[in-house]
Symmetry: C2
Subunit: 298 residues, 2 copies
Amino acid sequence: MFNKITIIGCGLIGSSILRIVDKKKLSKQINIFDKSKEASVFIKNNFSVEVFNDLSESVIGSDLIIIASPLSSYKEILLSIKSNLKENVILTDTGSAKKEVNKIISNLNLDKVHWISSHPIAGTEFSGPESGFVELFKDRWCILSSEDGKETQQFSLLKKFWEALGTKVKFMSFEDHDYVLSLTSHLPHAIAYSIIRTVIKNDDKFKDEIIQYSASGLRDFTRIAASDPIMWRDIFIDNSENILKVLDNFSENLEEIKKAIQSKNSKKLNNIFSSTRKLRKDIIKAGQETDKPNFGRK
Amino acid sequence: MFNKITIIGCGLIGSSILRIVDKKKLSKQINIFDKSKEASVFIKNNFSVEVFNDLSESVIGSDLIIIASPLSSYKEILLSIKSNLKENVILTDTGSAKKEVNKIISNLNLDKVHWISSHPIAGTEFSGPESGFVELFKDRWCILSSEDGKETQQFSLLKKFWEALGTKVKFMSFEDHDYVLSLTSHLPHAIAYSIIRTVIKNDDKFKDEIIQYSASGLRDFTRIAASDPIMWRDIFIDNSENILKVLDNFSENLEEIKKAIQSKNSKKLNNIFSSTRKLRKDIIKAGQETDKPNFGRK
């Protein structure tokens, strides 16, 4: 599919891409750059790829460059690789926020570079190159975004690449992407962190009990709140406008529940608790979830 | 183990108890009462038990009575069965809030009745007698509470009963139970409902996208927010004092995150997002969770 691919940043996402590209032989050569020495050594020891110490050299001659590092590292990376890009290279990323990144790239005025951003909606609470695996993207969505939204030849090729990795591909504008993800992903994360902090700050007297009885609801939030801190810090700064808006909406909804509890308004509480069941049914119908009790946990 | 058990309310929890008692032959006779005609017919058709139309008759001669119906129904049930209770009967329940229930029972001045409350911490988002299953309580906790906290003969018997159902049993006072559960269970539920309502109320323009990309975090909250509305309405009214207190703490934590986003304070955000990883590790260590990515979903 490609002659040479460069993956910049080889954590959970980057190393999962690497594993599939390697297994399915989607590229004749794979170049890797990771600023962590430890990660670089791990990659070198486990895969037959070229691992670079110099970022700018890692992209020379590449047909596809994938930035899979935290959003805050993009600017430095782009400035470093800018002058070594091959003509007509496809430049993509795997970030969870798009609008700010697109501004950075637009301002660089990259010539003869096809910038098409990617967001594979997949992940676990684990990070680092040892946590990647070949099934990570299976049946997950990957959202592609580009400035003009045109189905160019490069767009089709990148689409095929993500399909080969296992994802189903959709196109969205940068703005729509950031808004939809602020609701489906960034809001739940902000909330999960707040819940866990509420519990952690609590009196140590009941610490053991809280852990023991976590299966009653808390547990599901701890998975979300255990995700990579740097990745999430960057997302919240990049997509702050949308996130603050939906957090305000959330606080209004929470106040509504609080008021109903305060006034012991059982009719109102019943309405609130009944209103939320349908969304899950829709999600299961859309194939995004199992209907097995307890997520099918064993 | 018992000569006669009566289960009042045969939904997810009650019917799961029934299935295990039946399978393991923990009682010579099983009496069932459910106020729903539909549920009663289902039980009659699927189990060899005695199903009663008259609640007060269902408890005659029983050694163990289990109330497995919504908290708001307890008072009426207790008034109805009060005069038919066998001497030295064990009276228990399966409710998720304890303090108010205990007040009701104390006020009834039941004579020669051993009131020991139970809370099996197990459940799914499904309700009704057809959703019960024999593995529901396997390796889950069951919290027993009683007024004096003494390990009486009846207490030991009830403990053995819950162990036979598959749970690990712990004792907690009514007050401690309600406080700990407000953090581990009631808080997460209030939050999950608020999140889902924030998303549902949203512009219909992106409804399909929100469902499609729910796997990015939202999905896990929809399971919680799909639980039985009546059960949760009653819990929030019964345990309102604790729940309002922890919701206020939660709002403070959320404001802290909001402020850090507003001021793009990356150090603060990093601290917040780093602080929450440890709790999950503790929960996994305590055997309350799998460390498989994605909860081991297939």
